[in-house]
Symmetry: C2
Subunit: 188 residues, 2 copies
């Protein structure tokens, strides 16, 4: 059902989300308390608990939101273009939420969003490669993982360097690197 959410709920979730993002810029989630999060958001703590189990839950919800967004974008891509991966589209999305991605993709070690983005891209690329190439599924899995992981690290590095190239440039690079690998596979 497409019932509109009460604006109070919308607001509460929004400020909690923004506040967690802000705190995550300063310290890892393990060093953040629900108390200070609510103080920053100016939201009563019991209200926080009526929405979320804890701040890890909130973070998970944020990540889910992002993944859903990206999934939507990828669905749109399925419909009409031939590019290997819709990298430019994804980069535009990432730039739009640069602060979030910088915080969440760069966090010490691999966290959930990193894994989720990778799995999303991986699943998409595997399907794409299987439709376009006659290669064993086994090999496609590895190839896809190779391309996706490489691409993600490139993107993280790019964000870290303050996006010193245009989206178009970076997308071109990623596609070139991905396609070169593909040519190698074709000659198997």
């Amino acid at each position: 059902m497409n019932t509109k959410m009460d604006r109070r709920k919308k607001y509460t979730r929004m400020v909690l989300k923004d506040s967690l993002m802000q705190l995550l810029k300063e310290k890892p989630i393990s060093a953040i308390t629900v108390k200070e999060l609510c103080e920053l958001a100016d939201i009563n703590r019991s209200t926080f608990y009526s929405h979320y189990g804890d701040h890890y839950d909130l973070l998970s919800k944020i990540e889910e939101e992002i993944i859903e967004d990206m999934q939507e974008k990828l669905q749109m891509f399925n419909m009409w273009t031939e590019e290997l991966i819709p990298i430019e589209m994804i980069l535009e999305y990432i730039v739009d939420k640069k602060d979030v991605f910088l915080v969440l993709l760069k966090e010490n070690g691999e966290n959930n969003l990193h894994k989720r983005v990778r799995n999303l891209a991986h699943g998409f690329l595997v399907n794409h490669l299987m439709r376009m190439h006659s290669i064993e599924k086994d090999k496609i899995e590895y190839l896809s993982m190779f391309i996706v992981s490489g691409s993600i690290q490139m993107i993280i590095s790019w964000l870290d360097r303050g996006m010193d190239k245009s989206e178009k440039e970076l997308a071109g690079m990623i596609n070139t690197f991905a396609n070169k690998g593909l040519l190698g596979v074709e000659s198997l």
Copy 2:
């Protein structure tokens, strides 16, 4: 009594205030509807009416707030300095709320804030002059009005020109102009 206001009320008033200020940048209050104000603020209209009588009431409250703030600043000034008018202090305050002042002081014709600021400064300067000079109250009234009106117009012009001088510079100019006039009166 110093009872803390419920944070919901605080938030509601704040967004309504900010939204009215934003709309006033685009059009005069007579062209603004309560409906669009509430839409912009994302606040239910009946909530608006539980806080304010109408949007003119809201504007009046905003102005009162500003006057009270300035009054506080002037009280502090009374306590410890010799300057004719605490212009630098006032300019700092005005810069801090530049957007508000630009909108409200510049509006077509004289509006309430213009009058209120003038009366506040006038009252202050009259008291000040009477303590420091032996001049007829009558003359002081005129003199004060002269200085205050001139100063306010200078400030409006300064805001309009994007504050092309530092606060210190403008304060210096205003004080010099005011004092020159004062010297003229002394030789009466």
